[in-house]
């Protein structure tokens, strides 16, 4: 049976994020935590493969104990097992240190539940936006990486190959790769499912497997946590809102105002640019 690993991150709900005007940092306090948006698409794709071909889906996250909630959501959707890689020593990790630990965890998942055929990640997180962790994991595991995937055209489990569409800035690339492979998911890839009632019941009682540094005997402590993170945030600031010229259009009644707006727009070169006649 296929073994798929989905890497997820619990992030603050970006719809509720505010920036502290004094320190220019994110106010995380009291902001609800959710599963990173793109990671849900990665999980959904793994579950679709499970539905079609049969597979074991293991979800892994590195994070604080509170990330258990995010893992439970993945279980409710249909993941088989969820692993929380959690230790104070991992705190303060940048993308380099994170991908190191996640790669170790994936190797450990192989030892526990069999060889991994595919690793699925979101294209990036909502709070970091780097898009580096997925590729970082692929490099460390020395497997093919297919980033920015918007469609899985087919997966041939006999030949052990997959064909996907990668959405790039200048077009779409159709790529074939051999398993094992790492995929990073775009939102266009699929629509994440709503958990079934039995799924919710299972999730409510499920306790994720927790791995700490002690579970990785060969871990290189210089590569984890703050020590393993060369990234330095030197400064953060909020861009000043750009001043734009504003014109108020007034008139008697909504129709007159609308007419004045149309006249004003047609006085510019905008209609021509947009191809209006």
């Amino acid at each position: 049976m296929l073994h798929l690993v989905v890497c997820i991150k619990q992030v603050p709900d970006s719809r509720e994020i505010r920036i502290d005007p004094k320190t220019n940092t994110l106010v995380r306090e009291g902001v609800p935590a959710i599963v990173n948006y793109f990671d849900l698409h990665a999980l959904e794709e793994a579950l679709r493969i499970k539905d079609e071909h049969g597979a074991r889906v293991t979800v892994i996250t590195m994070g604080p104990p509170s990330a258990e909630k995010a893992l439970r959501q993945c279980i409710s959707m249909g993941a088989d097992e969820a692993v929380l890689v959690s230790d104070r020593a991992f705190a303060g990790a940048d993308t380099l240190a994170t991908s190191y630990v996640l790669a170790l965890a994936i190797q450990k998942a192989e030892d526990e539940w069999g060889p991994v055929d595919m690793v699925l990640c979101g294209k990036q997180t909502l709070d970091g936006d780097t898009g580096q962790v997925g590729p970082g994991i692929a490099c460390r595991l020395d497997i093919e990486q297919l980033t920015y995937v918007e469609k899985v055209e087919y997966l041939d489990t006999e030949k052990r190959e997959i064909v996907v569409h990668r959405h790039l800035e200048d077009g779409v690339e159709r790529v074939k790769a051999k398993l094992p492979v790492l995929i990073t998911a775009l939102a266009e890839l699929n629509r994440p499912r709503r958990a079934s009632l039995p799924g919710l019941l299972r999730a409510a009682r499920y306790r994720p497997i927790v791995w700490t540094t002690n579970d990785f005997p060969n871990i290189d402590r210089s590569k984890i946590g703050l020590r393993g993170s060369p990234t330095i945030v030197s400064k953060t600031w909020v861009p000043e809102p750009k001043q734009v010229n504003t014109e108020f259009i007034e008139g008697d009644g909504p129709e007159a105002v609308a007419q004045a707006l149309i006249d004003r727009l047609y006085a510019t070169d905008l209609p021509q640019k947009l191809g209006w006649t």
Binding site: R194, S196, L197, P198, L200, L201, A204
Partner: protein, 434 residues
Amino acid sequence: MAEERFDVVVVGAGPAGTAAAYTAAKGGLKVALIERGEFPGAKNVFGGVLYRKQLEDLIPDFWKEAPLERAIVEQRLWILGEDSAVTFGHRNYKYKEPPNCWTGLRVKFDQWFASKAEQAGAIPIYETVVTELLRENGRVVGVRTDREDGDLRANIVIIADGVNSLLGKSLGIHREWQPDQVSLAVKEIIALPRQTIQDRFNLDDNEGCTIELIGQTCGMAGLGFLYTNQETLSIGVGVMVSDLRKKRIKPYDVLEGIKRHPMIHRLIQGGEVKEYSAHLIPEGGFDSIPPLAGDGWMICGDAAQMVNAVHREGTNLAITSGRLAGETAIAAHAKGDFSAGALEDYSKAVRASFIYKDLKKYRGVHGLLASGDSEMLFEKLPQALNNAAYEMLLVDGVPKKEKQKIAFRHVRDAAGGNLNLLRLFLKGWRAMNG
């Protein structure tokens, strides 16, 4: 369908449902708690006051850990004239330790309360809508939800789906609303710095104040309120739907009017509106309480119309009815009998409790509110009382005896004569002492 069977499925994680789930789970029953909101409290609205006694019966010393806003040390009643008020109130620091009641925000409180039910063993099923009751041979045997494989079977279903109880309707025990049985409340949460709130209301840290408002509801039966939270104020007004229909006035226009009142404006000015909400409040009282139990089901809280409009009490009636339903479920489970006869113990327990007695006392209030005297009771008399007070306190050379006459005339004329005033007074007295 989910394979497993529950002892109790509770529909709705408001105060009533959560109290029922907590009680039953603590009693060792296998309980599922279903809530349509993203989390408990996400969709719930109330004025803002929580009482100690009823929750303490359930969770001793709960207030030492629950997310509450301010312990209320002062309750005020303002009878509003157009730009004036006759005020009553009582401040007493004995209300502080242990507190009698608090202001609270449902989004925090309900989450906390539900987490206690979860800790007691209730299985949370959130973001899930119960679409119907499963029935076999006239018995309720579970619920159908809007999720895939969404049927859940249970020996007992406790219905706590709120004021507009769809499940109650499906059982035929909850009729469509009559406009004179329900009021529509609108509420705003206004943010102000903690110290500003404390200065304006003369409070220390964690002390709170409530103001109930009568008058200035555009001649409609209704009450306003202004409550202090830690760093916000809750201001709102509830008005009978029958009056809103008659007058064709929107409830938020009434609220805007109240916010502009010079005495209110000073308390809220400079604040930023953070939240806006609206909610129905059952006002039918005693006579609108439906049958409370049947074969395989019990109903509690707002869904069973348990609101004491006069004393703005709803959550504590909900919590108590939920607890009683939970206790009845435990007893029924022990006997293995989930019939209407066994669950009738819940109705009996409610009848023996303060819920029933209080609602019975105020039985006539609904009739008073629906009687068509709204204009008189909520506009003319409050204004007349203000005019009378003004007259009494104004020193303008008119002899005091004459003053008294003028003051009384204000009230009498507003009521439409001595007889009418007497009639209103008697009616009010009876309504309050049914």
